[in-house]
Every structure is written in C-alpha cells, then in structure tokens.
Symmetry: C2
Subunit: 372 residues, 2 copies
C-alpha cells in the first residue's frame, strides 16, 4: 500500500537526513549540520486591524490563503502550516480540508497542521484526515499536535480544561499507535476502545511525520522526548526557559532529537514599515484574545522585537540575524513564521513570504559556509 517515504525521519535518503550524521542530533550550542527548513503558517485570520476597515470574509480570506501557499511553494519554502481555531475571527477550524485544497494548488511544499488541538479531536479521524491528505499530495502531509493555547475548543468539544494534560497524553499515545500500526488494540478513558480494527486509508509516506507543539510546559517537552517525537517550540518564553525546555527535551529523547520553532513576525523592505504594520496587527490580535489585558505599549513591542526577543519583525538582514542566533543557541533546524498574527493585508503577507524565502536561502548558505 505504501510506496515511497518523503519523511526525513523514515527515509535515510530523504533531504535533511543525509547530513544528520550519527543520527544523534546536536547538542545545545553546537553547530548542527542538518538542512534547515523554513515555512510559513496561518490561522486564516479574518478581522483587520484598526477601526473603519472593511471586514474580510472567511471566503475571501481562504482564497488569500490559497494564494499565499502557492507563492510559498513557488518561492521554494519547505512547509505551509494551518492552525486549528474555533473563533468567529478565524476561518481555519478544519486544517486538513484547507490543506487538501492547498495540495491541489502546490507541487512540493509540505503541508502541516499548526497546531491540531489533539485533546479535542478523535485520533482516528485526525489520522484519517491527514493520511488522506498525504495520499492526495503524494506524501507531503505532516501533523503538529498540541494542547492548544486558546480556550474555545474545550467547551465546544466537551473536554474539561483541567484534564487537558491526561487527555492529550492518552490521545497522543493512540495517535502514535495508529500511525505506526494498521490494526489497533487500545483502551483508554477518553475515547471508545479499539479491538483490533484497521484504520484506513494508510498514508503515502511510510509514517506520517508527527510533531509535538510545546509553548511553556516542561512536561509536554518531556512527553515529546519520551515518545521519540520531534518538538516544535512556540517562542513565547524567555531565553532561559527555552534553554530549559530544550535541555529537558534532549535529556529525555528516545530518538534523534529534532527541534523546530514557531515565530510570530513580519518581514518588510524597511524596518519602520515592518514594525508599524506588525504592531497594529499584533496589538489588535492581542485585544481580540485578551480583551481585559492592558494594551501593549510601543516600548514593550520594541522590546519583544529586540535581537534575541521572540518577535521576528524587521528587514531580511535583521530577521536573518535572529534566525541564525536561534539556530546556534538552541539547535533549532526548522522555522515556521506566523505572519498573519491578526489580519494583515494580503499584499503585505505576500511580500513577507518572498522576503522569508530569500532569507531561507541566505541563512542556509551562511550556516553552511560557517560549518565548513
């Protein structure tokens, strides 16, 4: 049933794995030799920043997402990610459906959820959706699963927020079993048992690539490590905590450790333009999500954008420096840029994707030269 694998974790001849050497990954602070991957991601945000703007419909926004993914594919980026959200101001509650349309519009970019709120879904359905996507796209599907940082899915799907961790753990265990085996014997507390049924269709790749999203929680980093799964870090914590998460992950890894990062940010042709545009969108998104929080001041925003701060906002050179720093400091080998944090005009996002693809080329070349 399966044909060829394009997952670097499975196929030693695939890109990335060629340079992985002993398969033991890299230590924090060392220079990794793995190919660095660059992608973009979206939640299909629909509410424009500021007052008096025209509301962008979900229909128009999804057509924009298709165009953004086409550009990302053409520009040679490695991954396009769609994050699951259940609010009126996001058009992406069903990432696999959106990614299937993107699959038909693109030829080589990998297609990932970013992130699937696993505690609120059935791992059987999640696997079937992404396995189908994998078949439709001839092996380009991936899954990022996490505990979710937004509150809406929990009451919508009847999951007790206090139970997030055990529910996530149980469902991750089941999803891994379904990924690795055709027939499943499984019993748990949060889903009816499986008594040897097969789960179909099986994917095009030998195994669907599966990542665990980690924002602050050390326990989730340890869970990813013990499960032998790669980890994608949301860069929302301070450096010392990111170091702690990476160390915990590497110390407990049962497979070659692999760390990706999800960054929020915007590249533009001038630093002022990037900063002004992203400040409006970012503060607007923050108000939507935390209406009672005090507004973010320009000074606080500038602090978040500092060279080793979490936001990747600026020119190609400025953001390149940040990416190179993150790569060397934490051994991160995959970067997903979340550009449209809060709605940004379509042309602004398209230009940022072009610049991000140029950055990918520059950073790869630069790191290869230094590694020699």
């Amino acid at each position: 049933m399966n044909e060829t694998s394009t997952d670097p974790h499975d196929n030693p001849l695939a890109k990335g794995a060629q340079a992985r050497g002993d398969g033991q990954g890299i230590a924090v602070g060392a220079v990794p030799t793995e190919r660095i991957e660059f992608g973009v991601m979206t939640f299909a945000e629909t509410v424009p920043p500021g007052r008096g703007s025209v509301q962008v419909s979900c229909h128009e926004r999804l057509q924009q997402v298709l165009a953004e993914a086409r550009l990302a594919d053409r520009a040679g980026l490695d991954i396009y990610g769609v994050g699951e959200h259940h609010r009126h101001d996001f058009a992406a509650s069903a990432p696999a459906v959106i990614l299937a349309a993107i699959a038909a519009h693109t030829s080589s970019i990998r297609l990932s959820s970013a992130t699937t709120v696993l505690a609120c879904t059935d791992p059987v359905r999640v696997f079937q959706d992404f396995s189908t996507l994998d078949l439709l796209s001839s092996g380009r599907a991936e899954l990022i699963v996490g505990r979710g940082s937004f509150p809406e899915p929990y009451p919508l799907f009847g999951v007790d927020p206090a139970e997030t961790d055990p529910v996530f753990g149980e469902k991750l265990d089941l999803l891994r079993q379904i990924r690795d085996h055709e027939f499943i014997e499984w019993t748990g507390r949060h889903r009816p048992p499986l008594t040897g049924q097969g789960v179909y269709p099986r994917p095009y790749q030998d195994r669907l690539p599966l990542w665990v999203a980690v924002s602050h929680n050390t326990h989730t980093a340890r869970r990813a490590a013990v499960s032998g799964l790669p980890m994608i870090l949301g860069l929302f914590a301070e450096d010392h905590h990111l170091h702690h998460l990476c160390e915990t992950y590497r110390d407990h890894s049962t497979a070659a450790p692999r760390i990706a990062a999800q960054l929020q940010g915007l590249l533009a042709d001038s630093a002022g333009e990037a900063s002004r545009t992203f400040y409006r969108a970012y503060t607007s998104a923050r108000r939507q999500t935390h209406p009672d929080a005090p507004p973010l001041t320009p000074a606080q925003f500038t602090h978040l954008c500092r060279p080793n701060g979490p936001l990747a906002v600026g020119t190609l050179d400025e953001v390149s420096a940040k990416i190179t720093h993150l790569h060397h400091e934490f051994g991160i080998t995959r970067f997903l840029l979340h550009i449209s944090v809060g709605y940004l005009p379509h042309d602004v996002v398209l230009r940022a994707i072009e610049l991000w693809a140029q950055l990918a080329h520059h950073v790869r070349t630069d790191i290869e030269i230094h590694a020699k």
Copy 2:
C-alpha cells in the same frame, strides 16, 4: 459573513427553483418541472475485480478520483459525491478532505458527501468540514447524511449498532441547528452539550444543503420529511417499496418535497460491454461485502438490470429509458450514478462519465419537450 447562496433551496433565483412554481413540489406520477440534476459518486474503491490483477493503491485511486471529478465538471454534470467508508479496500474515509482537493481541480460542479455516516461523527466537526469546503469552493458544498449501510464505522467509533436510529436522529437534529443558527444551546445523550457557543466558520451559502439518505427504512424517510429536508433514495428496494417510501416522505413533508436517487451502474458504448464489465465489478464488490452470501448468477444480474430494475447498466439509450421511467414514476429530480461499484478500470469509468453527461442532456431535453 455569508455572501450569495447557490443552494436552490435557499435562493429563489438559483437554477432549478425557477421552475418549481408553487414550491409545493410534485405528486407521485405527475410530471415535475424542476430542472433535473445528474451527478456521479464514488467510494474510491481500490480492489480490482478478478484474480491476478494488479492492486490499485489508495494513492493511485485518489489521483483517478481527481481526474474523474475534473471530467465530470468539464462535461457539465451537476454533482460529484464521495462516500465515507472505513475499509481497507476504500480510500474514502474522509470525504471533505477529498472534496476540497476536487474543489481546487473543478469550477462549477457541486461537491457532496455520499453518504456521511452521521451517527459515527460529531455534527460540529462535520459542519465545520463542509462549511470550510463551501468557502473554498465558493458555495459548492453539500451534505448527504445517513445511517450507513456498512457495519465498520460503528465499532470503530464506539456506537452501539442497536442504537443507530436514536443516535442518528439526535445528531441530525444538532446538525440542522448548527446549519441554521450560529449560536447553539443543545443537550443530548450522544455528544457533550453546547451552551451557546458559535460554530465556525459559517459557510459561503446561506445554508449548507443537507440531504437525508434513505435505503429501505420508512422511519428515516419520515424523519427526512418531518425535518423539512430533501431525501436521496438508494434504489435497492422493489418498486412497490420505493413507492411506499416516496408516499411516506411526501405525506409528512414540512417543506417542498424533493427526491433524489442513488443508482449503481455503468454506461458503455455497447450493451454487452457494459454488462460484462459491470457484472465482474459488481459481483466482486458483493463478495467483499458479503463473503458468505451465495454468488450472484448471471441470470440474477440480468434481472437486476431489467428496464425497471435497480441497476443502471447499458447503453445511453437503455439507461435513458430507465432514468425517464424513474423520473415519471417517483418524481425523482436528481440522479447520482455510482459507477465504480467494485473497482473498475479508470478508462472505463471516464467513458461512462462522458456517456452519463450526454444522457443528462438527452433526458433533460426529452422531458422538457414532453412537459410542453
């Protein structure tokens, strides 16, 4: 959020509804004046008939499905349907994901599940999947929901087969509420309650078209009628029972009654070719589904293909006569042809789609002439 409706049920200016007149539908035996719609459907079957054939992979089969849908769209057919199945010999457990890829490959054909096994799914997720499909396709999504005629989904999703009817009823009620209202207050036995949450994204059409699939069960026909929903009949019963189902449906309808039919069959350039090819595929599919049933003899098969029998197998003229009969006899105004019952070679299916599209044109012209 919603823009324009392309659902003839919602938009009095849309195709079909123009000629519906008083909106009360048509009586059994009367000549309906509604535009007749023609579509094709598939379960993405992968096992070829007979021994010694090469196994068609799920990957290859889904690429064929994309090509079949493209041809159906180009040839002017009205609907392409994908049926949910959870067996190793079907590649379609996630219809919305497949239909989203089809949406990107087509421009005007409507995209439907055929059928969604509603008792085994969460109506919130089903709505989100098809609403997303609707946005991606600019208003071409539809849903056919039913109790499912295959046993696999029930143990896989932990639904007691003895509870099929109440679970289906409860979930249909919830799905209708989500379709018709943004915010939901709902309590049931088979899904956690909703306490005023919104379900997003909302579709492109004002309301997602929603059909109820009925094979033999009078109770389900009555449920469709009382719910004010159109009904799609699987033509597996004898004529007198089909009459009973249609009468029950019309007698209890709380909205303009509308009846579609799902037929199994194959059109080919010669009657012998259609019959020989479909016999092999049909008997092979029957063996897969009912391994202990006695084999279907050629005589029994011929009986099923008789002019008023359930299988639509033959030349364009032969099948035209059957469609015209079904239209006049039962007031059926939409026909979905399930061609690939059991795996059929790709070129055979493509030719059948071309002939079916020609038939659609002939039958429409013929009925319009007689209606004058």
